[in-house]
Amino acid sequence: MLNLIKRDLLLSFYSSANFFFTVSFFVLILILIPFAFGTQSDQLTNLFKGVVWIALALSIIITVDRIYNADYEDGNLDIIMQKNKTIEYLVISKYVTHWFIYCLPLLVILPILSFLFYLDYLETIQIFINLFIGSFGMVFIANFVSALTLGAKRTIFLKAIIMIPLFVPFIIFGSDAGSWPILLGLSMLSFVISIYVTAYGLRLYGE
Amino acid sequence: MNELLDMGGYAIFVWSSYGIFFFSLVIFFLINMLNLRKYEKIFNKTKNKID
């Protein structure tokens, strides 16, 4: 399990462009807000709180192809599955690395962005907590969608259609500051479902 | 008759929704029926070839 985390981190370090692109994508979506809605500061603050969730959802959607697909197509997934007989451990380590590589950078950059949009400290902390909890749930969902759609090639749109309905509850509760306990519950529920479904999908495609 | 067509001023809503509804159902039915015919034809051909 630790081996796999180390390996995935090293791999993302070797092809660091991917992770850089995701951060840029996230930032650019948020930068579009003032262009689309004008520069009134109180309006910007409100919009930011919602659009940051859309940006997070989209950033996770564009990374969903990288979780299992590359390893599946070149055959590394076979070796990894052979070495990790309990596939649930493999799945958990993928959660960790996927969150670490693609969500943590977004959370790190979030405070800077929130100051650009005139949020005060308290609001920044609230949004940070919500995004922190919600991003885990979204990563769980992205993982099982990735595992289920391994055999469907080049179908990022299909994956988006599957994932966005599942993201809806996160976006609803995420944009409300006080509802982090519900987000936590949703994340835990999606963890329980995701770990079974992901392992199921990987076993099926391993056959 | 005019009264019926007018639907108490809601003619466009009522008739358009009924129109869309039945049009779609019929089209959907026909698509599946024709598909079934096509598949049955292809299937019978391949079966004859095997026999």
């Binding site: 289920l148 309905p165 509850p169 409300d176 479904v197 999908g201 | 509804f21 159902l25 599946n32 598949y39």
Partner: protein, 233 residues
């Protein structure tokens, strides 16, 4: 309880087909007569109320079809009887059409009633999401080239979607109480007059007959598809 489909069953379905088509058309005509001519206009909504007779049955069957879909997927995983997979696949597209119809007729009905085409109410939103779940189920099956695998994968997705729908409904309700305290969209459900129940009832039966007819046609279609996949291997 292992039911295996054999040629006799298919012949039976085949011979029932024309009667079913006839019955569907017949009941639809009666239903149309009752809903457009016989029933009185509503006190408040006037004649726009007549859209209800097609909107409500399609919404019911949209939900019912998805329940059957998810239920047969669960049963398929439990019993491993391929019949349930065939049922799920033959019923899915009919459900999608009913969902789309209930969305379209609902929004045409909404315009004269609420003054807007669409309201972000829990019921409507979850219906919209349901539509995308149907799309995801159908197209995921088509996108995976190994069809045996595709059935298992899309069945898993259908079950997850079934869990998702109540969550969405709950969260949109919650969100509405947070963001828009005045909910304008509660349909006037209380005390439907008996004269309105009759056309509604007939239209429901007609929609059910349509569902059965097309599902059985698709049932045969899916069976032939499966056979063709088998012989091509």
């Amino acid at each position: 309880m292992y039911i295996k489909i054999n040629n006799n069953h298919i012949e039976l379905i085949k011979s029932a087909n024309p009667y079913l088509i006839f019955a569907t058309i017949f009941v639809f005509i009666i239903g149309l007569y009752y809903s457009l001519f016989q029933s009185p206009p509503d006190y408040i909504q006037g004649d726009s109320m007549r859209i209800m007779y097609i909107h409500v049955p399609s919404a019911w069957f949209a939900l019912m079809t998805y329940s059957i879909l998810a239920g047969s997927c669960v049963l398929w995983f439990i019993t491993r009887n391929p019949l349930f997979n065939v049922v799920a696949r033959s019923i899915a597209q009919v459900g999608m059409v009913f969902t789309l119809m209930s969305l379209i007729t609902g929004s045409i009905w909404g315009k004269p009633t609420w003054g807007v085409w669409w309201v972000w109410d829990a019921r409507l939103t979850s219906m919209l999401i349901l539509f995308f779940l149907y799309i995801a189920y159908i197209f995921l099956w088509q996108a995976i080239s190994n069809k045996e695998l595709a059935s298992k994968i899309s069945a898993a997705l259908a079950i997850i979607g079934f869990i998702n729908i109540p969550i969405i409904k709950f969260s949109v309700d919650w969100w509405n109480t947070l963001h828009q305290p005045a909910s304008i969209s509660k349909l006037s459900a209380p005390s439907i007059d008996e004269s309105m129940l009759i056309p509604l009832f007939i239209m429901t039966i007609a929609c059910f007959l349509f569902l059965v007819t097309v599902s059985l046609i698709r049932f045969r279609l899916v069976l032939i598809e499966n056979k063709m996949l088998r012989t091509s291997n």
